[in-house]
């Protein structure tokens, strides 16, 4: 921070620009953002970037199975940048597609959980009474159990499948959002702008949606980034245990699990490269989340 800021510039500074400059103050956070952007781009454009469609079984050749990174196909000139797996699948392509599946599941469950949790949390703060008490008791009890256990119970009872995994991840996450939204809304509801809105005779729906909700968003976004990272890691763990996504839609976790059997014979690349992709994704999200927490937290504001 410079010692004596020029007031003329300060007046022109918009909240958005202040946010950007505060975020950019940390090089590590910028690195995280760049990494996240790269991961997202790779996932979104996977079908165009990937040299091979890893799930078109007709394109796979068992003769090319378990080739180390940098090998060329036994037939033709196909180049396997990161080697191949047990079925002769190009690992680089498989990772790109796996990234897509992992991110889709993580973000989808995050968005659903955020919507559900925020709605319930804000409602609890606004309505209060019995509803609030019961809801928060459920939240407390559920958060007393580790996510992996709750997810495992759900998968054990619901069965496998993309929809089931998303249900499990939403169930695990909603409570965090509900608690955050409620405490943020409790703080906001006594502020003057809320009184002003009530004084203007606005409808409850309008007050909650247009005034209360936008002001509870910053803490929810912070929790959201951390939770999406958790969701991706949890999905990978479930898939690794064979309890997550089906083999027709392999996520990074499943790719790692597939490579596990080859690990002991020294064929590290089948497991390690998907693992690095998973780590990069989670790390990027965590780095961005860490910085967002510092920037958006009013208590730490200078």
């Amino acid at each position: 921070m410079s010692a004596v800021p020029q007031t003329a510039i300060l007046v022109e500074e918009s909240p958005w620009r202040r946010f950007v400059s505060q975020y950019a103050a940390s090089k590590l956070a910028l690195f995280g953002l760049a990494l996240l952007a790269l991961v997202l781009l790779l996932a979104v454009f996977a079908p165009w970037i990937a040299p091979q469609n890893p799930y078109d079984l007709g394109k796979l050749d068992l003769m090319d199975a378990r080739l180390p990174p940098g090998s060329s196909s036994a037939f033709g000139s196909f180049h396997y940048l990161l080697g191949t797996d047990g079925q002769g699948r190009d690992m680089w392509s498989a990772i790109l597609y796996g990234l897509r599946v992992s991110l889709t599941v993580g973000v989808t469950s995050g968005v659903i959980a955020l919507t559900l949790g925020a709605a319930l949390g804000i409602l609890a703060a606004y309505v209060g009474g019995r509803f609030e008490q019961v809801l928060m008791r459920i939240v407390d009890i559920q958060l007393g159990f580790p996510a992996i256990l709750v997810a495992l119970v759900l998968i054990a009872t619901l069965g496998k499948g993309v929809d089931k995994v998303i249900i499990a991840l939403v169930t695990v996450q909603w409570a965090y959002y509900a608690r955050t939204a409620r405490s943020a809304a409790l703080v906001e509801r006594h502020k003057e702008y809320m009184e002003a809105a009530r004084g203007l005779g606005l409808s409850s729906a309008r007050i909650v949606l247009r005034h209360l909700l936008p002001n509870t968003l910053p803490p929810l976004i912070v929790v959201g980034t951390v939770q999406v990272a958790h969701a991706i890691a949890l999905e990978a763990t479930l898939s690794f245990l064979g309890l997550g996504l089906p083999t027709t839609e392999p996520s990074l976790g499943l790719l790692i699990a597939n490579g596990y059997e080859f690990l002991l014979s020294g064929k590290y690349w089948i497991s390690v490269y998907p693992g690095i992709a998973l780590l990069a994704t989670i790390l990027a999200i965590n780095l961005v989340g860490d910085q967002l927490r510092d920037v958006l937290n009013p208590r730490l504001a200078r």
Partner: protein, 325 residues
């Protein structure tokens, strides 16, 4: 205090009941265990006989009420696979899991607190920055992947430590423990390290944050002004005050270590209850899955309760019962 404990126990029963209904209803929707119980060539008559023998012919709610009645008497049903009491099957595996969990927690505490103290006292030094960087990576790494890396490095590349199984166990007061045996300890080291890593990162971060908050407070300044040695200020005054939140987190994390042992045990083929429940889910061994969940829920509630009580003992400012948690 007594009222508080009683209320918590009542709540425990309610949670148990809800969990049991959820699990019971849910588990009925996946697969037919009869298919797993009879041999594939069995005819319809034999299938029916098995169904009746295991009580699977009755409606779901009758089966549930029977389960409840038996559970009240401490009988959680017979395992389909092992043909013995599900509770016994799980309790047999429990020492292995607890042993792993305690060893992991010990590693996390013994390494984590000193590193966190250092990083908190000298936040700007290079070493502290390195410690924090490692802890953020430790936070981001999924447990199962760390397990794979550990196996690759220590078992495959270096060949120092075994990667699977439990090794020989020694009978200590009726419990089969492997950590008291050198070879057993070697088997336990990799899985425990794997399990410890996430908690280690957590303890480092928490200790650091606590230290940084506390060193600015007046009581530290006062202790210094009294001319106490640095060791005494840190070892007695500071440590005592940062212990309160640490004990809470360590206590609560013990439960999560037991739960996460499911993953570690599966990777390292450690014969604990976590691996048992994964196997049981695949084998549709309903009684074992239900019993495992019941036991874990009880364990969790007990741990949470003990932590809450401990918290009020350590910190007289906390009044039980009036807190919303």
């Amino acid at each position: 205090m007594l009222v508080y404990i009683l209320r918590r126990l009542a709540q425990t029963l309610l949670v148990l009941l809800v969990t049991s209904v959820l699990v019971f209803v849910g588990i009925f929707m996946v697969g037919d265990p009869v298919e797993m119980l009879v041999n594939p060539q069995a005819d319809q008559i034999e299938r029916e006989r098995t169904r009746v023998a295991f009580g699977l012919d009755k409606p779901m709610w009758v089966q549930y009420l029977l389960f409840l009645k038996n559970a009240a008497a401490g009988d959680l049903g017979n395992s389909f696979v092992y043909g013995r009491q599900a509770l016994d099957v799980i309790l047999e595996r429990m020492p292995a899991t607890l042993e792993l969990a305690f060893l992991a927690m010990l590693i996390a505490i013994v390494i984590g607190i000193p590193l966190g103290l250092y990083a908190g006292l000298k936040p700007d030094s290079k070493v502290s920055k390195a410690i924090m960087a490692v802890s953020i990576v430790g936070f981001s790494l999924p447990t199962f992947w760390v397990g794979l890396l550990l196996i690759m490095l220590f078992a495959v590349q270096l060949g120092w430590l075994p990667s699977t199984g439990r090794g020989p166990t020694v009978d200590v007061l009726g419990l089969h423990l492997s950590i008291v045996h050198w070879d057993g300890l070697k088997h336990a080291l990799l899985p425990a390290l794997n399990l410890a890593l996430f908690k280690l990162s957590l303890i480092i971060r928490l200790t650091r944050a606590q230290v940084r908050e506390n060193v600015l407070l007046d009581y530290i300044k006062f202790a210094r002004a009294k001319g106490l040695t640095r060791a005494r200020v840190l070892g007695v005054h500071l440590l005592k005050n940062i212990m309160i939140p640490l004990v809470t987190v360590i206590g609560l994390e013990l439960g999560s270590v037991i739960a996460f042992a499911i993953v570690t045990e599966s990777i390292f083929a450690w014969p604990g209850m976590g691996k048992l429940v994964i196997d049981s889910i695949f084998q549709l061994d309903r009684p074992v899955v239900v019993a495992y969940l019941m036991i874990t829920v009880v364990m969790f509630i007990v741990i949470n309760l003990v932590v809450d009580i401990l918290y009020s003992v350590l910190d007289p400012r906390v009044r039980l019962g009036s807190t919303p948690a």
